[in-house]
Symmetry: C2
Subunit: 234 residues, 2 copies
DNA sequence: TAGTGGTCTAGACCACATG
DNA sequence: ATGTGGTCTAGACCACTAT
């Protein structure tokens, strides 16, 4: 494995372990060069990779800083429902149910766990102006996200990804979503206060860490008639 | 402007002007170094930028190659309907209607034209295995896309973006899509061979050139039950 | 064996930010 | 004035590909 790669991995680990805290200055090129006994070009290459991943920022004359995740951005990055006028609102969130159960084959596959491995299931209802908008089934590896089982569910707050980071040290970096439309089940109809047989949009999301490993799998359901989803293709 | 940037721009221009053709080998690092009288590191940095943009590919021991635009890729980039098993198929395409008409305020706004400016409207039906899947309304600036009005519609082929490039020199580089669900109109129900009042997914797409200028606006409609859309969020 | 890209080194000089 | 990152140089050595 190339030197700059090893160096990069080492730095990335230190950032994840918060040896250097978000927003803080990390060692300069020359310091790192001396610390690791490598050429300055090698240090630069390792840091350039960190920049590409969004882990650090450099500022000429100042230094290299560990980036703090901007959740006002990522909230909108991941929450892609729009109201009819194209505005995006932060819905309030309520955890309806929380339990640990053995992973089904499908979920285990998505999260790259063994079938039957313990996963946390969260049922969550998200509302805008007291109107239920989305019902979500969320699955997480029970080991990685163990702190979520002890914390009171009414302290989870309206956004889960900041919570994952705060209480479990897990950072969501990207996601894949698949959208389909189906008829609602009776249980969900009740939860969402919709008539039976309404058609709902299902968003299946696999959320990944910065290393590309799957961290969370969720299904979100909401009334199709109120649905609006936007995407950029590059 | 930094040297490596200038070099990069020069190389990028030569690629776009097809001085080196797609698929062909371009000069090696040492050749470029001598040609431009710069250090080899500078050449490398310029080429790394070309790689990041997807303009070239390098292969160890072989050399640096100009990438040929893969329309089999970009087709899938933009046509995101998937069959139930996750496979993606190339639908066949038929132009049902073609006319020039004055732009409505909405379309003019989307395409950044004046209201009433002439636009080409295409109605297009896309089928998989003779089954109609998608009905599309497509709008293009009549000036830019004038050649499309003289060409026979049965020679358009199954994909429009390669056609835009071949016959009008217009290249689609990115797009924004907005998805909604609505009830089908009677005319569309007939075209898509669906029962009345079926719910359909509507995909509104604004396709942009590499300069970010809007080139095409389209609405695609297909039965919600057969719908599957996947997106990557970064 | 010759040519290519991939890695790594060691340093010079500049532009920017701060005290 | 000092320290930082940004640019640029000049070359060594290695691993891969082709002949």
């Amino acid at each position: 494995m190339p030197l700059y790669q090893q160096l990069h991995d080492d730095l990335a680990t230190k950032i994840k372990e918060q040896v250097w805290r978000p927003g803080q200055l990390m060692p300069s090129e020359t310091e790192l060069k001396n610390l690791y006994q490598v050429a300055i070009g090698t240090v630069r290459k390792a840091i350039e990779a960190l920049i590409a991943e969004g882990l650090v920022e450099r500022s000429h004359g100042k230094g290299t800083f560990v980036r703090k995740p901007r959740f006002d951005n990522s909230l909108f990055r991941f929450f892609r429902f729009e109201s009819a006028d194209g505005q995006r609102r932060v819905p309030s969130s309520r955890i309806v149910q929380r339990q640990v159960l053995p992973a089904t084959a499908y979920i285990a596959n998505a999260l790259q766990l063994k079938t039957g491995a313990p996963v946390i299931e969260l049922l969550r209802l998200r509302s805008v102006d007291q109107q239920p908008m989305l019902a979500e089934n969320i699955y997480l590896c029970a080991q990685r996200f163990a702190p979520l089982m002890t914390l009171a569910t009414d302290e989870f707050g309206d956004l889960l990804y900041p919570l994952y980071e705060r209480s479990c040290g897990q950072i969501i970096a990207s996601a894949n979503e698949v959208l389909t439309v189906e008829a609602i089940t009776d249980a969900q109809a009740k939860l969402l206060q919709l008539p039976r047989h309404t058609s709902v949009v299902v968003i299946e999301r696999l959320a990944l860490g910065s290393d590309g490993k799957p961290l969370e799998w969720r299904q979100s359901r909401g009334a199709a008639s109120k649905f609006r989803y936007s995407a950029e293709i590059r």
